[in-house]
Symmetry: C2
Subunit: 330 residues, 2 copies
């Protein structure tokens, strides 16, 4: 049994899964209602005790994903993203509290681990996941291992530059990829297009900025709304262009598009693939598949958190007999 915890700015999700990735029990509570770290930790520990009591001593460990969490140290480096100040050594706290192994990673990497352990990447050694939600997160797996980086901060593809002096980003800079390619980016693009076309072209003209979201834009596009379709095309084209660069650097077997916005399916996948082929170096053409997740969209991150600890256990077993393949891939 593995306990996965996905700490988000708004909600903390928890799930208790077996080795096949089937959840026996799930739970969630509000992160943002706790104004300081200690209150949050107490609430979290209470929930852990309650869930683990279902399985007694079968718990193998706990996997945790959180924004700006460092894979190497298990510390949430900048708890500001969660509305608190300072750092939080979540690994240290939970290991002491539960006396079991705890693994921690940046939440942007959770989908990569979910796909690797339970999803469509179980037989892949080199792949990428792009998570499209409020922002854009990425996870890169090379030689069968997550590219964590020296400081445990790899995978911040959402902040590579698309346009100098482009859209303002929450990071304080301008033109970051996630200001264009994310649920928020899609909405910004929609409003840019409404401005360009000056009315009479979209059912979405009746909504205020704060009332539009990716789901409304998707529904309008599926009904044939031309401006909504254009917004998806614009988004997918920028994504495909940047994926072409990422492929040159990491040469993956596949790229999985996951997260809420990936629900839009062909609306997003088609322009992304078209732009990718146009941007691609000839010798790489059609060597990379752009795939949807094989896991339920709502569960991929939580499965990733469970996978963190499941994987750690598998690695330990496997280390006893290294295969020739592994030696080869240095």
């Amino acid at each position: 049994m593995y306990l996965g915890i996905d700490i988000g700015g708004t909600t903390t999700k928890m799930g208790l899964a077996d080795s096949s990735g089937t959840f026996l029990s799930e739970n969630s509570f509000s992160t943002s209602s706790y104004s300081n770290v200690n209150q949050f930790l107490s609430a979290l520990e209470g929930e852990i005790i309650r869930m683990v009591s279902l399985v007694g001593n079968q718990l193998q460990g706990i996997g945790v994903g959180a924004p700006s969490a460092n894979f190497h140290t298990g510390v949430i480096e900048s708890a500001a993203n969660l509305g608190w100040s300072g750092q939080l050594n979540i690994k240290g706290h939970l290991e002491e509290f539960m006396k079991c192994p705890v693994e921690v990673t940046n939440d942007a990497n959770l989908p990569a681990i979910g796909e690797m352990i339970y999803g469509g990447a179980q037989v892949m050694r080199d792949f990428v996941t792009i998570s499209l939600g409020t922002g854009l997160g990425s996870g890169i797996v090379s030689n069968g291992k997550l590219v964590g980086g020296h400081h445990g901060m790899a995978g911040e593809l959402g902040h590579i530059n698309v346009k100098p002096n482009g859209r303002k980003c929450g990071c304080g800079r301008r033109g970051c990829l996630e200001t264009y390619v994310s649920a928020t980016g899609l909405k910004r693009t929609l409003f840019k297009l409404l401005a360009d076309y000056n009315g009479g072209h979209s059912e979405l003209e009746e909504y205020a900025f704060e009332d539009v979201n990716a789901q409304k834009i998707t529904e309008a596009a599926l009904r044939g709304d031309k401006i909504a379709i254009k917004a998806f095309n614009y988004t997918g084209r920028i994504l495909g262009n940047k994926l072409a660069d990422l492929i040159l650097v990491t040469d993956p077997e596949a790229i999985f598009l996951v997260g809420g916005m990936a629900k839009a399916g062909a609306l997003l996948f088609n322009p992304t693939k078209e732009s990718l082929v146009e941007s691609m170096l000839n010798s790489y053409e059609s060597t990379v598949e752009i795939l949807p997740s094989k896991l339920p969209l709502e569960k991929v991150s939580l499965l990733g958190a469970c996978g963190l600890i499941a994987r750690s256990e598998r690695q330990l077993k496997k280390s006893k007999h290294i295969t020739l393949l592994e030696r080869k891939s240095f």
Copy 2:
């Protein structure tokens, strides 16, 4: 004893090194004077026999780097880069001929392996090398292993896009990084600046396009030539900007700038570092060092070829006892 072979379009370099990276014997011959693969292979095998006869049965293996060589298969995929047609299974040929282990990789990755085994990255697990020569090659090491990619083609940073509709590249596309950042890119920038400034500003105005190279531009810049200095600034600023993106994705401990153009030292390093800091996401600032190679510039690739086989041997020994650190880094 390790035999390293670096097959380039013009010259094939060979070196016989001991485990400390000291060359006992070096040699080179013209690649381009052989119009077909079989003639080249015969010449190469003759040179191998001659060099190996010096050390008898102490040869542990042969490491080979070549353009578009696939790390997984040992095949030079597109021998067109070497003036021949078709593919060349260099690993298969040499293993059969010499009855010893042969490891092959894309030549862009050789400096990364050289730094990892013999140079400034011996204690690093996550770093990048950028080789600035006629083009721009890169090698990425993550979790202590080369990011080879699914098809063995990772590290083609030279072909990521800098400017849509930018300079024409040898790959058939436009605006690739290496059309700006490489010895050739520097020269193109110089001529762009000469055009912009319209005479009277540079000692380099006296040279024809075909007579200028990176060395002449470096020498002029060191003498205070303002246009030559501007050319370096322009080059370094583009490089720094793109390194900022690469750091977000791979989070390395250090980036090594190697290859002939890195000899320009501060002329190149200073604008690169300035631009990097300006382009960087705040939380990553000053976490990454931009370093020169610790190896002689002319030998870093050949040492990388020797390192290919030295590393393979070390991995085999080490696989008997996997450390906790390695298990941790998935």
